[in-house]
Amino acid sequence: MNETVRVAKSAASEDVLPLMGNEAIARGAWEAGVKVAAAYPGTPSTEIMENLARYPASDLYVEWSTNEKVALDVAIGGAFSGARAFCSMKHVGLNVASDSLMSQSYIGVHGGLVLVVCDDPGIHSSQNEQDTRLFARLAGVPVLEPSDAQEAHDFVKLAYEISERFDTTVIVRSTTRLSHTRSAVRVGPRETVASKGFVDQPSKTVAIPANARRQHPKLVAREQAIAEYLETSPLTHWEKGDTKFGVITGSTSYLYVKEVAPWASVLKLGAAYPLPEKAIREFAASVDRLFVVEELEPAIEKEIRALGIAVEGKALFPRCGELSPELVRAGLAAAGVMAAAEVVAPLAIEPMARPPVLCAGCPHTATYLALRSLNARVAGDIGCYTLAAVEPLRSIDTTVAMGSSIANAVGMAAAGEPRPIIATIGDSTFLHAGLPPLVGAVYNKANITVVILDNAITAMTGGQDHPGTGRTIRGEKTFKVDYETICRAVGVSWVRKVDPYQVGKLLQTLREATAFKGVSVVIAERPCVLDPVKIKGAPLAINASGCVACQSCMNLGCPALVWSEETYEGRHKVEIDQGACIGCTLCAQVCLSDCIQPVAS
């Protein structure tokens, strides 16, 4: 490749840009003429909608939805009205959106509908590593698997053609590796796609039993037609090479295969479902041994085996975690078709653990410090605050999925757990999936305390707006949700707001809340220190002569607090990193010897 790269963005002309996978996906959607786009943030998918929001409002409507099901329903509505519609989410988001996907699969589309789902093999930032290709099979919709940013861009555009031609939602599956790898992408101008308008066809668009019974055989026929199309589509790509063995692969796995065995015959599948049977049979017959290299589940391998073709896959390549050139090489070496990597003597350096921590001054720190001393059972939720599941703050007992905390707490109470039961849930997560369980908890007379950790942003994913921030994805002012009013409206009579920086008051409020019989809600209100603006107050300092090395402040796990060289009775005194400290005063509030003070100016 010898293209000259111009970095300046030129929307109109064809150009080559260095783009992250997620940027390429957004660019592809924009070029495809998408009019309606919706998402809920989730690593590794978040940047897709952030990038789409950079295109003008005259080109397309974009929104942060309250959750992934809402996002998909908005996109489905856009497609009903004849526009090209787009939706993106992380893999576990599809669990939330799947109810709509399953119906939509029967209904089909009108305007094209593409759903980008970003999987997280290796679980870099998720609660599991489920494989979206299995979901596609369950829903009976095709799933495309790009391998690099160029393909991500191209496949999204192609997905709209497939969607409209075959009357189906199309899933484009990315992974953390693809979404967060930057490479050169040849881009093009935006297509002008006229909206087809809403067309009355209730027998198709209304999912009632009579209609669904008619639509189901159409879905089965559609699957067959797409498989037929894939036989000759450029998505299915045979790279002829040595015939001692052949590899069927796709996504980034394809890149690892090319890296370690560039001479091998490869059948690259751009779609993992449905499969082009004839192409696979022909390829299998051309090689002595057949391997499938795919990340996570043996989705392709099982289908091929069901065709009666001899194939090797998960016996050689792991089913858990992310693949790599090393693992692909090790698998092929174990099969005896290539040499193993040279064994390098280990360097005998033990790596130091560096777990992620809550930021210096994070308001969650205070809340969990208080919870740590309450002797309560704490049902946690999804967000930065999951970091309070480990020492020194360790105070969360469970974490399941978005919005699970409140209903988990109800169940714990119902089972007779003797300790006070507290659910902790962030603001964005509360709006995402915390409302129904809160309504249910009051309705069913549960005796639990709910702590809403309101830091006024979706923090874990890098600071996205939501209905509680009062701003849209494009930064426009909008209505700001009032949590206290919501709680009172659903019947919570005991609601208090508290500033988590006031540790004593917070602890006292939590005590009163847990003493209340019924559902009590504490709203711990204090903005995130990173987003939307970085907060940096005057730092504090420790008067070393007063420090008795009691380590009480170290119980905060604050990254601005470190051991100094000085000791007191054999233990390290503590000092404050002035650059990192934002002056929240939590350490000063817990200091036994009152030796933490603002820096005298």
């Binding site: 490749m1 293209e3 790269v5 970095v7 260095p18 690593t43 590794p44 870099h124 930032s125 690099d148 953390t176 590796r177 693809l178 967060h180 790898t181 930057r182 490479s183 050169a184 980034t252 890149l255 690892y256 090319k258 890296e259 560039p262 790599s324 050139p325 090393e326 090489r329 990597a341 040279e342 390098v344 360097l347 350096i349 790596p351 130091m352 653990a353 560096r354 777990p355 992620p356 921590v357 930021c359 740590r372 001393s373 002797n375 970091l387 020194p392 890098g462 009691c550 009480s552 170290m554 796990g557 470190v562 051991w563 000791t567 009775e569 054999g570 233990r571 390290h572 650059g579 036994l592």
Partner: protein, 299 residues
């Protein structure tokens, strides 16, 4: 410049550079700069990173590969030509990514000690921070350049430009013109920080050229890692006077090792004596002077 490790002109197999550090240090900025400059030389480039925990003081790493054709976005273990570490212990974590014998290690000796490493309350315990010194590491890799880039950048007026200092050191091992580096940096850095980053780049380059000429300058001998942990033998006993205890629960709540509890009569007792480090916090905070902590060692 007398050694060219990454000859850009003659690379047919891809060149692999790994950049590592801690969230917020600017790992991604110098990865992008390197990717961009390689792309300008006409190469196929892939730059891969993992975000998610980046803002939360966690481990950040980025793979940059360039050549006539690059397949995998990640560098296999033992195949990195260069490892750039913005933080000392992070460099050590990824050291085995380097090619044995020939790999080049460029590291800031700056230590960012995580809260997790300051957890051991036993008497005499040291931090869990990595102990290997620059001199020891130099023995293990092809070439090692360890400098105090953060101090160099701080002296220029901006500690956060340490990443650009390291890029300057890297530039002395690549045959790319200085002007190309500087214009690339200008593209990625906001106007108000350009001047300081240009200076930082040049400072790194000067250091690198001096170190190439004189191998004795390649690591900062003044930096000595923390002594190994040597906990002092210390028998601890806790006495709780049940008559004075009024069941307030304060000691239970404040114990850093969570070794105290209330018994059936709501009197405090030591539930897990083996976890007690004799830190005295319960003794100091008991409002009724009901707790006495005795330790055999006095430091």
């Amino acid at each position: 410049m007398n050694e060219i490790v990454l000859s850009v002109a003659a690379s047919t197999t891809p060149r692999n550079v790994m950049v590592v550090g801690v969230g917020g240090q600017g790992v991604l900025l110098i990865s992008k700069a390197l990717a961009l400059i390689a792309q300008k030389q006409g190469f196929h480039v892939k730059q891969s990173e993992v975000h998610g925990m980046a803002k939360r003081g966690g481990v950040v790493f980025s793979h940059v590969r360039f050549g006539t054709k690059v397949w995998s976005p990640t560098i296999a273990k033992g195949e990195a030509d260069v490892l750039i570490a913005l933080e000392w212990a992070e460099g050590l974590r990824w050291l085995d990514q380097l090619r044995p014998e020939t790999g080049v290690f460029i590291a800031d000796v700056r230590q960012i000690v995580p809260p997790f490493a300051c957890r051991d309350r036993r008497l005499g315990a040291a931090t869990r921070y990595a102990r290997e010194t620059p001199a020891e590491v130099a023995e293990k890799v092809g070439e090692s350049y360890a400098l105090d880039a953060t101090t160099i950048a701080t002296n220029l007026g901006e500690p956060r430009a340490a990443n650009t200092v390291l890029l300057g050191v890297l530039s002395t091992s690549m045959d790319i013109a200085v002007d190309d580096w500087l214009t690339t940096l200008d593209q990625l850095i906001p106007a108000k920080s350009r001047e300081i980053n240009r200076k930082a780049f040049q400072a790194g380059r000067d250091w690198g050229e001096a170190a190439h000429a004189d191998p004795t300058l390649r690591f900062d001998k003044s930096r000595i890692a923390a002594p190994a942990s040597a906990p002092i033998e210390n028998a601890v006993s806790i006495e709780i006077d049940s008559v004075w205890c009024k069941s307030c629960d304060i000691c239970v709540k404040v114990c850093p090792e969570r070794c105290l509890a209330l018994n059936a009569e709501h009197i405090a007792y030591v539930k897990t004596p083996e976890a007690c480090t004799g830190c005295h916090v319960c003794e100091w905070l008991c409002p009724d002077f009901a707790i006495t902590v005795r330790t055999s060692a006095v430091a």
